[in-house]
Each structure stands twice: as C-alpha cells, then as structure tokens.
Symmetry: C2
Subunit: 331 residues, 2 copies
C-alpha cells in the first residue's frame, strides 16, 4: 500500500477533535503534505490547515484525500460519498482509515474505475505475504516496543527518524498502523494480517537494505498485553531489530481497559523483549526508554524519567518534552 | 464451526498416502465416525475403511463428507465437484480442509442452498471474534507447546484427552488446526484468524467451564519458530493454561525448513513458555515432555527420553510408544 501526497484531510462531520486524531497526527508529522481540510458545517474538529472544497483541493494539486477520522456510527454517510465521488472525478485518489471498506462501496468503486483512480483501505492489507523466514538481512533496524498499547510507540519512532535524519543518517520510518501509514505514505496494518503471516509481513515491510541504512519500525501492542501480544511477537521476530526503544506512560494505573492486569516494570519489560528479539538478532540491545509523562507536572516528569534511567542504566526521556537526542546518541 | 458425524472420507485422486494425511488422522482418532472412503480409480491413498460410492454413503447414514486430502495442483477438479454436488443432493454436508474455499465454488453453493445443506471451509474462520481480555475463568486447561512445528502437538493432546477420559476425567480436546477440527467435529483454524484476534479466538474456543473440567488445547507453532511464534503466543495467553506439555522430535537436525535456526533445548523451551503463560495464569506448570522418537531405534528412543526426563525433572515419554499415562499422573 503506497499513496501519493500532497493530501486533503477529509474531516467530514467529525463530532469532536478526538474523532480526527488520525488526521491531526498526519498534520503534525507531515505538515508540508497537508494542503487543506474538508469539513461539513457541523464538523467539530479542526486540524489548523486551510478549509477547502473538493474543487479547491484539486486546483491546489492534492493527490490523495485522506479519511483520517472516525465517522458517526462507523458507516460512511451518503453526503461523504457524493464528495468523494467528486474527488475521484477530479483526479484524486482516496485513502481511508475507517473499518468500513471504501473498496466495497459500489459508487466509489465505479467512479474510481471510470476515472482510473485508486482506493486504499489502510486498515486492510491489500496483498498476500509469505510466512517469515528469519534469515539474517543487511541494513539496521530499530523497533519501538512498550509496556502497553497507546504509550507512544508511533510518536517515538517518528521522533527517532526525525532526529536521525537531522544528523545525516539514512533512515526511514516504517508504518504498521493506520496513522503511521498516512504519515509514511505506505506501510502495513499489521494487526489486520492473517495470523500466520505476521512476521512475514514485517520482513516485507523492512527488507534488506544498505549496511548503514536504518529502518525505524513502528511497534504495536505489547508482549504484556494479552489482547495483542501475538502481533507484538511477530513484529519483534520479523523486524530483526538491532535496537529497541521501550515506551511507557508514566502514571498509568493498569493495562489499558484491563483493571485486572497491573503494568509491568521497565527492567522486566526490556529483558523479555530482548529475549524474544535475540531469536532473529542475537546482537539486539535496548538503547533507552521513551516515557509519556503528560499525566505529571514537568518537575514530576523529570524525576520520573531520572528514576527509570537509573533502574535500567540507559537514557529515559519524554520525547515530546526532551526530544530523543539522548536515545539516538546510543546508536 | 461445528459439523455432524459420521463421516465419508473423500480421498478423490490423492497421489500418495501422504496426500491423505488429514483423512488418515481422522480415521486413527475417530474410527467410529468414519464409515467409509470415496476414491477414484487412480487414487493412491487408502485409509483402510470400506470404499463407498456417494449413494452408498448416504444409504449408510453419513452426515458429512470430509475433504481431508491434498488435491493435485491445489484446485478442486470438475469430477470432484460432480460427486460433491451429488452428496449435497443426497442430504450430506461437506467439510473441506483445502486452501481453496468450497464456499466459493458456485455449483456447490447453489446445490447446498437448494438442498439446505452446509459447506464448511475448516481452514477459514467463519465467524468474527472479540479481542482477548485475559480475565481469569473457571475450568482447567492443558495446552501442548513445542520446540518447533510438526513435533506431535495434536497427537499428544488427543492422547492426553483419551487417557484422561479413560480415568474418568471430564475432558475435551479443543482443535486449532484442520485435522484436529475434523477429529473434534468443531474448532478454529487459529493460524487463519486475523492477527488482532488470536488470543480472543482461543478464549472463545475454550471458554469458562466447570471447576473440574479439562480442556485439552491443541497447540500450534512454537515460540522458537519465527514464522509462527505470534500464533503460539496468542494461544498461550488465550488458553490460560494450568498445565503445559512440551513436545519435541528427537533427532531433528534444525528448525523445520530452516537450516539457519538450531533447535532449542527442552529446559529453555519450558522456561520461556512458562514465563509467557504466567501472564494469564500465574500457577501454570509444565507436567512433562512428549517426544516423537520415530527417527531412533526403540532402545535409543528410551535412552533419549530418560536423558530429557533427567534434564527437566519431569516425565518424558513417546506418546505413540509409551502412552501418556505418566504425564496424566502429574495432573
């Protein structure tokens, strides 16, 4: 799955700012790609880019309309479809992060075919993969892992890519979830792959490369989250990482949505992830921790990171507050 | 997915005995369910049950025709379809273990609809699952794990179920692969589930039960096989096992199809599986090892099992040669 920028962020009738979280992530990390946003009158979200009609977007040179928003009720309403058909007629592709597949909406399929445009459902893999083989491949890879879901694995990977590029590294972010895929312009929604092919899909996503090239792979789930640990393990084996960054949210009371599961401590989390990763790369090491300290005051956050850093004997930073320079220093 | 016995084993034009491996497994473990086999003239396999025409099978009371065979070229040939349509007309269901979906063959779909019969593609889950939640549930569960794929995890689970039933335990084999599903008459092809739902599908497969009831869950893959470890981890977390049996093939030179991966030793294999399993059941323990010693002489096999038993401090048996009584003794 690979699509063309620049983008129009289609926000539709998003009920609040959170419903447009994906679009907003794209705007934050790829501001140059986001020429504008499309909003109906009752839209309650704003990504801070110019409002545009579909016609204005085409005029401005938009290549792909991004549906990076949660629609009310999860379905794609008729008034969205009319606008999207217009976008196809005017030469733009459409990429959707919704569960509902745009590739199964007859009006869109028909218009895309007629105007030779592409429809992308980023949550649903559009190709088949081989099973993973674990054969050692050239190039370097860093994977973000974590104590739980939603602890900043995508943010950290993007921050590491940015910092490495700033220092002249040859580095690429590799996306494994919908927001990341819009930001990268390509990728695989790894949690939607058939179970047998998790590690194989990851091998495809970050294939062999030049000896000094770094792929910065977006992690998913956690070995300690029972819902998604299988996905995480396939990501670890498939990415064959040279370096891990472990991500954590300070002050989270228990595993997300699971009060019956306490959080794991960072040293154990690192040990278990390294143990799993050694199967495909015996030389893997952890280069530090990325802590989301947004629940704490700035002062409390610093104290928390210092404490973690002492516990693990490695840098621990809040990527948003501190940047990730001290993590990249370890590479 | 659940279907009715007795069965007709449809062997078609199987090119050799190995091509009918699945049908043969069903015959070995459920001899009473297998009333006969259907073979074309050039069939090179034989499951040792009476040959029957489709008409004779209907007459004998067969409820489901089992396609437990590898077809030449992987497609379902026209002469098979004609016979299968006849089976539907005569009131039998069809269950297929082929990759090609019988639910996408128009002639079969039409005939099944007309005669109100069912078509089952056991390799493809026919329902959606929730994500796993890891909440502690009543009932006891035993899971077979292993050093690699194809080391006897299904065989061992079935042998344990048989031994437990003989001793009056309330026990059920829970199938996670195609042969197992035919043998159990139900189950989930766990490696074909979408990655996000592996542990959730397993929770569905072996749900809460009476306090003294045992589910004997068929394992898949291995935490040490990079191709399938994600599936294995979801199985471990989802089955919340009280007991593990670790399976191994004596004398295997390296991981199957992967000369670049050596086999793991049994003590490490047990440790890593227990560590993973403790996330959803802190009281999990390993009750012993099941070793396929078919590459060795009987004498060598006994020596090998004794050595393993000393290494792990638990019984180690060849289930085919010794039975699994000493494993069940540990429960």
């Amino acid at each position: 799955m690979e699509f063309q920028y620049p983008y129009l962020l289609f926000l539709g009738d998003a009920r609040d700012q959170l419903a447009a979280k994906t679009a907003n992530g794209v705007r934050v990390w790829r501001p140059d790609w986001c020429l504008g946003q499309f909003r109906f009158e009752d839209c309650k979200a704003d990504c801070g880019v110019p409002d545009m009609t579909i016609e204005e977007a085409a005029e401005a040179g938009v290549k792909t309309v991004i549906l990076g928003v949660v629609s009310r009720g999860g379905v794609i309403p008729e008034n969205w479809i009319n606008q999207l058909v217009k976008a196809l007629e005017l030469g733009m592709d459409i990429a959707s992060g919704l569960h509902t597949r745009i590739t199964q909406i007859p009006e869109l399929v028909k218009a895309a075919k007629k105007h030779n445009r592409s429809l992308h459902d980023v949550r649903h893999p559009s190709r088949e993969f081989d099973v993973g083989n674990g054969i050692n491949r050239s190039g370097k890879r860093l994977l973000t892992v974590g104590t739980d879901v939603s602890v900043g694995k995508m943010f950290t990977a993007l921050a590491v890519e940015q910092e490495m590029k700033k220092r002249g590294f040859d580095a690429d972010f590799r996306a494994t979830g919908q927001t990341g895929i819009f930001i990268a312009g390509s990728g695989v929604s790894i949690d939607a792959v058939v179970a047998d092919f998790i590690s194989g899909a990851v091998e495809w996503l970050c294939p062999e490369n030049l000896e000094n090239h770094w792929d910065i792979v977006e992690g998913q789930g956690s070995l300690f989250n029972v819902s998604y640990a299988g996905v995480t393990l396939g990501l670890i084996h498939g990415s064959q990482p040279d370096a891990l960054v472990v991500c954590h949210e300070a002050g989270r009371p228990h595993m997300r949505s699971m009060p019956h599961f306490p959080l794991i401590d960072l040293p154990t989390c690192i040990d278990v992830n390294l143990q799993a990763a050694r199967l495909t790369n015996p030389d893997v090491r952890c280069v530090g921790a990325a802590i989301n300290t947004s629940r704490l005051s700035e002062e409390e956050g610093r104290v928390f990171c210092d404490k973690i850093s002492q516990e693990i004997g490695l840098p621990a930073v809040d990527p948003l507050r501190d940047g990730v320079a001290s993590l990249v220093d370890q590479i």
